[in-house]
Every structure is written in structure tokens, then in C-alpha cells.
């Protein structure tokens, strides 16, 4: 019935418009009678459902942004006391006199050296507070009668492990990506890409456990180093977590190189390898660079793997085959036992802030490289 009536209705409206075009009042009343839908079809309408959905999606997306901002604020606020030494609460010394130290199991020769150093640092420092001199020191010994917060061994430890991890994983990940993007037959591509990406989903504690139990023994047998757990083992284990990151981003940017460029190179009589190395790889280089940066960021911030596989001794040395302790592992290991608001607590947050700034900067640079350089390159600016 409605369907039949509809054309009639519109016809009458049309007729009424044409016949009574000079008189406005009857038209208006008729329009009201017919309903607003035909007359006010152009009128903006408020759709509550859509409005709510749109606003809540916006809110949620800004929520994740807020989380980052809050973490940023919290970490920095907690580490703030470090910048004003007077505000640092001094550890209750009377209680700590009897506290055991971590230096007990050190070999005799090193012990002597450490004792010497301790003497020196004790001479220089008052009360073991978080002064700049103390933070720049060479010994990390936060729980002791004269706590030492020398971050140098931790920073060097992080750098050593990260360097091993990136030097090992970057070539492997880039070559694997090059293979999947440029050479692999379809079946191999469909097998490799998800397989390597699944590697990214393995919990780091599992990788750490694997490194601790299996990999360390294997590497020690193969290379014959003295300490079973060390920076090298930690770095190799870490590279299992870094490879998927560099691989994924590199593979994406290699696949994004326009196919016409590859064809042009092949049509010039270049072999597949020449095309991949001299055309595709350079064209994708900003993306690859970004991948490496993100890989470094991940390696630097990764905690569980290095906590389990590096030996976790805060020794300052350039030797890759000595145990190390990284900044992240230090936080992971000590945060649970620290006195709230203590200098030690503040210093741990300060380390966290340094880590945060470092990875944040790396990610920001990587973003610029992916977004701008890579895109510009293909659009020709």
C-alpha cells in the first residue's frame, strides 16, 4: 500500500508546488501534513549512535596516547630527586651497617682492586648519595654500607649486549628479508614470513630460558669462553627477539619498492642479485635503517632475556665474553626489593628514564625515516 501511495503523494506535492507557487501558506500547511521527510530531506540530522561510536573511538585512541604520557611523567617524576641531591633521602645508616654486600664472592685479585676503588670512592663521596660523581662511578653496588650507584658498568653492559645483538641480527634479518622479498618462490615466502613473525610473539622469558639452558652451553662448547653466561651469549639470545623486528620492517619496505623499478633493472640485463643489491636494497634503505633503529631500541630495552642470559654481574670491562648486567636487567632485578623512596629507588627510576628517552628517540627517528624519507624517495622530491 505504501509503495503504491508514494508516487501519488509526490505527484500531488509536485502539483501543489506548481499550482500554488506564488502563495506560500497553503504549501506550508500541506508540507506539514505530508511529513517532514519529503520536505526537509536536506536538513542536517543528529545521529546519536554514530556520534557516540565516533567519540568513543576517538577517546580510546587518545587513551593509549595518554598512557604513554603518564608513563613518561611517572618515570621522570620518580627520578626527579636525583637532580637535587639535597632532596634525596639518605639511607638509614644505622640499620645498614650489618647489611651483607654483594662483593663477597669476588675472586681475591679483583676483590683487592675493588677494595682499593671503594676506598677511593669513599674518600670522594659523602654518605654514598646519588651525586653526579657517584652516578658516573665505575661500581654498581647499591646495597652496601656505602652504596655506590655507578651507572657506567650498566651502560657499558647494555651497549655491549645491544651491539652483539644488532651486529648479529641485522645482517641475518636483512638478508632473510631480501630473500623473501626478491628471490623466494611463493611457497617459501608464505612459509618464511609468518614463521619469522611468530618468533616475535615468543615470550622473552622463553627465549631467555632457552638461552640459559641450551644456547649458553652450545656456545661455550663452540667458542670455549671461560664464563658460561656473558655479554656474547646474552647478545645472541637477544638477537632472537631483534631479528623479527628488523626483518618485518625491512621486508615491508623492500616489498614497497615499486615493481616497475625491478623490471627496469632486469630489462637492462641485470641479474636478480644485481637488481636486489643495487636497486631494491638502496631504494628501501630508509626503511631498513628505521628497522635497525627499532631493533636497537628493542635490544636496549629488553629485560628478561638479558636478565637470564648475561650472567648479571655488573662488571665494567670491554671484554664481550665476561658477564655483564644491563640497565634494564638492573631495574628488573632490583626494583622488587628496593625501599620505596630510597636513593636506590630513585636511581633505578633514573635508569628507567634514561632507557625511556633512548628508545623514545630511536623510535621517533625511525618513524621519520619510514614516513618521510621512504615515501619521498618513491614520489620523487
Amino acid at each position: 500500500m505504501q509503495a503504491l501511495q508514494a508516487p501519488n503523494k509526490s505527484e500531488t506535492t509536485l502539483r501543489s508546488i506548481t499550482t500554488t507557487s506564488n502563495t506560500t501558506t497553503p504549501l506550508a500547511s500541506q508540507g506539514n501534513h505530508d511529513g517532514d521527510s519529503t520536505k526537509l530531506w536536506w536538513k542536517k540530522r543528529f545521529r546519536l549512535g554514530e556520534f557516540l561510536i565516533e567519540k568513543s573511538i576517538t577517546a580510546i585512541s587518545f587513551l593509549s596516547f595518554a598512557f604513554i604520557a603518564l608513563i613518561f611523567v611517572f618515570v621522570f617524576r620518580e627520578s626527579l630527586p636525583i637532580f637535587s641531591t639535597s632532596a634525596v633521602k639518605k639511607p638509614a645508616e644505622t640499620k645498614q651497617v650489618q647489611q651483607e654486600t654483594y662483593g663477597d664472592e669476588t675472586p681475591a685479585a679483583e676483590l683487592q682492586q675493588q677494595v682499593d676503588e671503594r676506598k677511593r670512592s669513599v674518600e670522594n663521596l659523602e654518605e654514598g648519595g646519588a651525586t653526579a660523581a657517584n652516578l658516573a662511578g665505575k661500581i654498581w653496588q647499591p646495597v652496601s654500607s656505602k652504596p655506590k650507584y655507578g651507572m657506567l658498568p650498566l651502560i657499558v653492559g647494555s651497549l655491549k649486549v645491544t651491539a652483539v645483538a644488532v651486529l648479529f641480527s641485522a645482517p641475518m634479518a636483512i638478508l632473510a628479508a631480501l630473500f623473501t622479498a626478491a628471490f623466494a618462490p611463493k611457497w617459501a615466502k608464505e612459509l618464511l614470513k609468518p614463521a619469522i613473525e611468530i618468533l616475535a610473539g615468543i615470550p622473552s622469558v622463553v627465549i631467555g630460558f632457552f638461552a640459559l639452558i641450551a644456547m649458553a652451553t652450545f656456545l661455550q662448547k663452540t667458542f670455549g669462553f671461560q664464563y658460561r653466561l656473558n655479554a656474547f651469549v646474552g647478545g645472541i639470545a637477544l638477537s632472537l627477539a631483534v631479528i623479527p623486528i628488523i626483518y618485518t620492517i625491512t621486508e615491508d619496505s623492500l616489498s614497497r619498492v615499486p615493481k616497475v623499478i625491478t623490471e627496469a633493472s632486469l630489462a637492462l640485463g641485470a641479474s636478480k642479485w644485481q637488481t636486489a643489491l643495487f636497486v631494491v636494497l638502496p631504494a628501501a634503505s630508509p626503511g631498513i635503517f628505521a628497522g635497525i633503529l627499532l631493533g636497537i631500541g628493542r635490544a636496549f630495552g629488553e629485560t628478561m632475556i638479558v636478565l637470564m642470559a648475561t650472567g648479571n654481574a655488573s662488571i665494567l670491562s670491554g671484554d664481550l665474553f665476561e658477564p655483564v648486567r644491563t640497565m634494564s636487567a638492573t631495574i628488573g632485578a632490583e626494583m622488587g626489593e628496593v625501599v620505596f623512596g630510597d636513593t636506590h629507588y630513585t636511581v633505578l627510576f633514573f635508569i628507567g628514564a634514561v632507557l625511556f628517552l633512548f628508545t623514545f628517540t630511536l623510535n621517533a627517528i625511525a618513524e621519520v625515516f619510514i614516513r618521510q624519507r621512504l615515501m619521498k624517495r618513491f614520489e620523487g622530491q
Binding site: P258, A267, L268, S271, V279, F378
Partner: protein
């Protein structure tokens, strides 16, 4: 090179993408130092045929080829033929200009470099010669360091031609080289084709029948994977033997 004056000859060339037959029994002779145009409606197989000549179709999954493509009397689909060497001899210009994201100089030096030429002055010579041949030298000689992608569309296409010339090919395959260009840039490319045929054998796919009539000496008309007619260009356009050819060149379909 070839005693009978044919640079490329195909014999019963058939090609299929999976189950779909794209070319049926194409037998054609392409004469040395002439321009041969391939015309026909979209999807008629003319680009596929062109890409079969230097085996660019190898890059597409599921392509099967039968029959022979003789380049200088060698069947290039034989198992022992080096595709890389073939493509050096039979170069290609694509529909969309595709310079590398490198400088103008490096774009052209790329081919010679992968062939082992690294001396600076030799490369300089090749770059200058190729750009002059492609009628681009005067426009870019002062900024060879500029990115090839910063050039205009017509200049980019001439850069691609210069890049192809730098490896000293004998045949140049052009896949609708001017279809994305404005009339002025098109005229320049056509002029260039005219000059290039002195030294090179050229096969050009085109959608534009006036262009085929203007630049080519021979024309092949393709329709649904079949070669309908192949003759001197003036015959194809003035007195075609086949009804379909006549309908197409007079604009009745296509």
C-alpha cells in the same frame, strides 16, 4: 647480423597465463633497423607478445610459452639461453616511466656498471652519449646529480630510453611509451624513435593508431590473442586485407 634481414622471428608462438590462452600461434618477422608497431584493442595480447620477445614474461607466475622466438637465429626459449644476455641485447621501455630513485647520472650509469665498467671518464662518455641520443642532454647536462624522479613525465621517459641505450642494445621494445604523456612530450618521443631506427631495431606497442601510422614501417594487428594481419604500415592503414583490420583502423571498434 642476419642474412635475411630479420632481427627477430617468431614461429608458432603461443602463450598462456595458467589456463587462459593469451597468444595463439603467432608467426611474425621483425626486420632489422625498422620500426614495427603492434596495434589492437586492450587485452589483445600485443603487450604480452612484446614481453615474450625478451622473456620479461618469465617474471609472472604461471606463464607457459610454446613455439620459438628467434633472435639472430637463436631460439631464446632454449634452456641454455642466458636471459641476462638476451635482455642486454633486447632492451625495453615501459608504459610508465620508471627511473630508479637515483640521480640522473646513476640511472644511466647503472647498466654499464653492472656490466663491469667503472672508469669515471668512460662512464661520463656513455652518460653523455646516451643522453644526447635520447635528446635529453641539453635539458639536464647541468644537473646530472639531480634525482631522476624530479624530472617531468616526458623527461623521465627519455631518461629511461637513455638508460636503455647505455647498455648498447640491438633491439628496443617499447610498451606504449607515450601513453602517459602530453602531446608535446609524445611528439618528442616519436621524433626520437625516428632517429633511433638508424641504429636500432624497434618494436613499439601503441594504443594510438595515428602514432603507429606516423612512426612505424611495419604494423601488426592483434585481436584476441591472434595476429590478424601483418604488413607494411601504409598497407595496413590504406588497404587492409582483413575486414577486422579495416574496422579497427577506421575506428569502428576498439
Amino acid at each position: 647480423m642476419n642474412q635475411n634481414g630479420y632481427k627477430i622471428t617468431t614461429r608458432n608462438l603461443s602463450l598462456s597465463y595458467g589456463p587462459k590462452l593469451a597468444l595463439k600461434d603467432i608467426s611474425v618477422g621483425i626486420r632489422t633497423n625498422y620500426v614495427t608497431a603492434l596495434i589492437g584493442p586492450s587485452g589483445c595480447g600485443k603487450s604480452t607478445f612484446l614481453r615474450a620477445l625478451n622473456r620479461m614474461n618469465d617474471l609472472i607466475d604461471g606463464v607457459q610459452t610454446s613455439g620459438e622466438v628467434l633472435v639472430d637465429d637463436i631460439d631464446v626459449y632454449r634452456n641454455d639461453v642466458d636471459v641476462v644476455a638476451l635482455r642486454k641485447k633486447v632492451g625495453m621501455i615501459f608504459q610508465r616511466s620508471n627511473p630508479f630513485p637515483k640521480s640522473i647520472y646513476d640511472n644511466i650509469a647503472y647498466g654499464p656498471r653492472i656490466n663491469g665498467i667503472h672508469e669515471k671518464n668512460k662512464l661520463d662518455q656513455i652518460v653523455e652519449r646516451s643522453l644526447k641520443q635520447a635528446a635529453l642532454w641539453d635539458e639536464v647536462k647541468d644537473d646530472l646529480k639531480k634525482s631522476g624522479l624530479a624530472l617531468s613525465g616526458g623527461q623521465q621517459q627519455r631518461l629511461c630510453i637513455a638508460r636503455a641505450l647505455a647498455v648498447d642494445p640491438e633491439v628496443i621494445l617499447m610498451d606504449e611509451p607515450a601513453s602517459a604523456l602530453d602531446p608535446l612530450a609524445t611528439a618528442k618521443i616519436e621524433e626520437l624513435i625516428f632517429e633511433l631506427k638508424e641504429k636500432y631495431t624497434i618494436v613499439i606497442v601503441t594504443h594510438n593508431m595515428q602514432q603507429a601510422a606516423r612512426v612505424s614501417d611495419y604494423t601488426a594487428f592483434f585481436y584476441i590473442g591472434k595476429l590478424i594481419e601483418f604488413d607494411e604500415t601504409k598497407n595496413i592503414f590504406t588497404s587492409p586485407k582483413e575486414k577486422q583490420t579495416e574496422d579497427y583502423v577506421t575506428g569502428r571498434f576498439g
